[in-house]
C-alpha cells in the first residue's frame, strides 16, 4: 500500500527522515483495492482474534 515501508532490522524499526509521516501511498493500488463500505459478515470466530485460533 505504501512505497517506502518502515524497515525493521534486528527487532528495531528505523525512523525515516522523510517529510510528514514519512510514507507515500501507492495510489494505483489504492484504486484497485477500493471498495464500498459495507457491513461485515459475523462468523463464529470474532474479528478481534488472530484467525484460526478460536478453537
Amino acid at each position: 500500500m505504501i512505497f517506502n515501508e518502515t524497515v525493521v532490522e534486528d527487532g528495531h524499526a528505523k525512523v525515516t527522515g522523510r517529510a510528514g509521516i514519512g510514507v507515500s501511498i501507492n495510489e494505483k493500488l489504492l484504486e484497485e483495492l477500493k471498495a464500498d463500505p459495507k457491513t461485515l459478515e459475523v462468523k463464529e470466530e470474532p474479528v478481534w482474534v488472530v484467525q484460526g485460533t478460536w478453537k
Binding site: 505504501i2 525512523v15 525515516t16 517529510a19 510528514g20 484460526g52
Partner: protein, 343 residues
Amino acid sequence: MLDMKIREISPIVLTSKEGGSATWASTMILVRVVTSDGTTGYGEAVPTLRVSQVFRAVEQVAKSLVGKDVERLERNYHDWYLQDFYLSRSFESATAISAVDIALWDLVGKELGAPLHLLLGGKFRDSVPVYANGWYRDCVTPEQFAERAKELVRKGYKGLKFDPFGRYFDWIDEKGLREAEERVKAVREAVGEEVEIMIEHHGRFNANSSVEIARRLGKYNPLFMEEPVHHEDVEGYRKYRRSTNVRIALGERLISLKEALFYLREGLMDVIQPDVTNVGGVTVARKVCALAEAFGVEVAFHNAFGSVQNAVSVQLASVIPNLLLLGELLRLVPVMEKGLDLQ
C-alpha cells in the same frame, strides 16, 4: 502561516481477498485530505466491525473541517469536540477525527519539508524496538506456537505477543487454563529467557478468571498481561491489581485524554497502549504519552492495523522518553505487504 486550507476529506475503504492474520486486517480505512494547493495527506481509521459507521463518521467530520486551516491542528480537533456532543463516548467519532488529525500532521510536515518527529521535538532514539504481533495464525497446539515463535526469533524479534486462550470468553475453566499454560510454556522454552513474551487477553475475561490466569502464567515471566480484564470493568481491574503481581498493559480502546487520565490515576496499568488511530490522532496521543510519563508509566503503542498507522506510530515512538516497545503487525499481514518495497 502556511496558508493551506482543507479542500477535501475523503474516507477510502480498502479490502483484500487475501485476508490477513485477523479479519479486520483484511480491511483498511484510509482518510485522504487534500489542501487548497493540491497537496495530499493520509490518515488511517480503525475498521473492526464498524467499517460503514466509521466511513460515515469521517464524512461527518469533513462537514466540520473543510475550509479550515490545515496547520491549526489543536483548533481543528477542538472544533470537532465542540460539534460532536458524544465524541467522548463514540469510538466511531474518535477514530474519524483521529484519522483526519494524522493526515493534517502529515500535510504540515510535507509543507514544511519536515518529518513528524521533528515537529514533535526531535528524535529521542534513532530506531524503535518492536515486538511481533499477529504471528500465530492457525496455531492451536503448543508445538505450532513454539515453531512459529522460533522463526520470529531467528528473524531478529526480541519480543513476541500472543493470545493463548483459544475460544474462552469471560470465564475460563481448568481445561482452558491447562491449554493456555501449555502454549505459553512451549513458547517460553522455544525462545529462551532473553526474548520477551507478552500475553494478550483481548479484554475477554472477568476478574476471577484473569486472576487465575495470572497465577498460572506469571511464572513464565511475561513482560506484561495485555487487557487481562474487560476494558470497562474498572472494579475487575482493581481486583486484578490487588490479587496479582504481574504487569498490566491496556489502552488500545482509550478514546480521549481524560479517559487515559482516569485509568492512570486509578493506578490500573503499568504500561499504556494508546492507539493513535482512535485516541485522537497525533494531537491527543502525544498528550497521553506526556501524561503517562508524569505517572511513571511506559508506553507501548497499539499498532495492529495498517501501513499508515504503522508509519505514524513509529514517528511518535521515536520522540517520547517513556517508550517501552511498539507493536508490529505489519509485515505479517498480506494486504499490507502487497506492493511494498521490502528493503
